[in-house]
Symmetry: none
Subunit: 207 residues, 4 copies
Amino acid sequence: MPPIVSEEYKRQKKKEILNSALACFAKKGFQAATIDDIVAHSSISKGAIYNYFKSKEEIYLELMNEQTNETNELLTEKINSFQTATERLLYLFDLYISIDPFDPDRKETIVVHYEFRLHSSRDENLRLLLQERGNRFFIDFVTKIVEQGVKTGEFKKDINPIMVANLFWTIIDGATVQAVLYKEYPYQNILECMKGMVMDTLLETKS
Amino acid sequence: MPPIVSEEYKRQKKKEILNSALACFAKKGFQAATIDDIVAHSSISKGAIYNYFKSKEEIYLELMNEQTNETNELLTEKINSFQTATERLLYLFDLYISIDPFDPDRKETIVVHYEFRLHSSRDENLRLLLQERGNRFFIDFVTKIVEQGVKTGEFKKDINPIMVANLFWTIIDGATVQAVLYKEYPYQNILECMKGMVMDTLLETKS
Amino acid sequence: MPPIVSEEYKRQKKKEILNSALACFAKKGFQAATIDDIVAHSSISKGAIYNYFKSKEEIYLELMNEQTNETNELLTEKINSFQTATERLLYLFDLYISIDPFDPDRKETIVVHYEFRLHSSRDENLRLLLQERGNRFFIDFVTKIVEQGVKTGEFKKDINPIMVANLFWTIIDGATVQAVLYKEYPYQNILECMKGMVMDTLLETKS
Amino acid sequence: MPPIVSEEYKRQKKKEILNSALACFAKKGFQAATIDDIVAHSSISKGAIYNYFKSKEEIYLELMNEQTNETNELLTEKINSFQTATERLLYLFDLYISIDPFDPDRKETIVVHYEFRLHSSRDENLRLLLQERGNRFFIDFVTKIVEQGVKTGEFKKDINPIMVANLFWTIIDGATVQAVLYKEYPYQNILECMKGMVMDTLLETKS
DNA sequence: TATGAATGAGTGTTCATTCAT
DNA sequence: CATGAATGAACACTCATTCAT
């Protein structure tokens, strides 16, 4: 029996389910959100949801995977429109500075995201998967930019690109977590300040 | 007839329950860990647990509260043995540098801790409580040290103490989260590096 | 696609649950009867029961509500086939005389019914609900008949209809309770006797 | 080892427990009231309570037994100060008329009492016990008075004493139950009215 | 006897998952 | 494929009863 509905239809349906699931997980957390919540939010029947995903866990996983992909794409998409390592790094900083982590919806999404990452620390398979497609990717991504900067002479010779990459993500994660937990956190200011410090460290200072 | 068991006995029992609960929450997360898990781990009967705590939630809260208190004490305890702001700030950095976030038990505890903080973002009352006893305390703590440094002339005059405090905790949180999620994260190195950058920024540079 | 099962099916299922619940409550009392008892008696799964009722309490309430409705209907149904107040009042007496409170099933139902009414005395909301749909209805019902009898001259002019109505239900409740608790209670005789006394009091005696 | 405390002490302690138990059962009902409620109300320890009663059920039974005894005594106590059957019957009516079933404490006690009687209908042994010491006693008590009245010629010759006795308790139970469940119930009026009707029926009417 | 901490079977309720229609 | 009723294994929590002190 050949497929009755188009692949496009299925992809669309899956997307709808994932969107509703994200909204529900964001509002209540993965464990507390129920399949019925997703049914109510999406107006897709319980049976239908189980036609597309084999468990609640799978929805969660696919959702997080999707989010990672989107972030990956977001990062890579525009980076090539910048030529120098300096521009590229500044672009990355500004990208995160431009995010408003205090926006309620954004905030909830961030919380789910970090909950997921913490959750993954309890499941070795999951952790390795995330490491591969998450942490490693992000570290590599910045590492390459810094390596480029060192090679082109934009950045100091004795810079350790990997260390800078880790520094970058430490700052981003730290600032994001703080912002989500602490209303008065000066997110933009801190990132600007960090940006300054990091760039100062990287750039050859003229004497 | 005086109490059947001493206050000390009760405190001990409570502590046992909290320890087991922490182990269980660490292993599975708050939601997934069951009271029966705690029973199995502690060899204390279910009824007994409910004699000491009125709900699973209360165990969680008390556990986190205890952890916050301990951290508060840890920070304040030795700080007065240092006189200058510089020494004090270095002590704080070194305190966190000396922690091994890769130690399995420590790691699990850290995960529970961050999960709790994320969880609190969905409960306004809890969030306010944590803000008061957590975030605010930590920010104030570092702010005061920096203010002292500015006043004594150790640090530059144009330093914004609140911003530095936020910077400090951004770095600590960022590094801790990374370490917990990413095995190859160079925790110590990053903190040393950050320590250098922050101190450089604060200290009057000799010309 | 229309509903998976018909409304009729659902109504039937609800009825089954209520029937089993009544049997269980009758046998053990509301508090002592467990949801598992109802599951065992009805062969309907626990989950299914909770699809139709949101709590054990709700089953109880709906059961009692249903019983009240049925009694209300029973009373009102045939009353209009009688014209005079005398006939109507006699019909009411005879209706209750014709009930056999010693029949085991009937007896159990009566016990649950009175337990529910007593139970309601501890819950103000429930008490008011019952007052409205129960006591008040029954009192009014008889009051109107007696008022009619007074107006048409069937009954003495100085009769207080409300008092007679209360008298009527006092007798019915008293006899029902006695019958349920005391095997040798001469239910029919007592009601016949009461009927005589009440009618004598109401009717104009010829001199 | 001879008893360390006097019998009197024990009796007193038991009484205290029973009093607290009655208060608790009255407020919440037998099933809902917990041993801890009784502990809190009586300030007697849980262990001590179990020294005097072997179960919650036993407390209930003894309480109800005690109540029955007290009622029995109340009825028999003053009855002999009246000579004629008429006076005695009037005394009984007036005794119940003088009770205020709307008084909150009294009301709660009445509710427990009827709950107990209904509860007993599910336990054959209990039912028989109550029948013997309760229903039968009360019926006999009134029957004898009426028999006396018939013998002395105070009452009509064709009166059936047993029927009158049942009539009497039907009225008392009916009025009490109504009063407890229905705030606007004209308890005193109804009993006065019933008293009149019953006495009219019993007494030789002068032509 | 008095105490109250400990016990654990039992309770109402939830919810991920299945499957007949 | 879609539906949502059915399932039942869990789960948090209660409470009568026991027993070491």
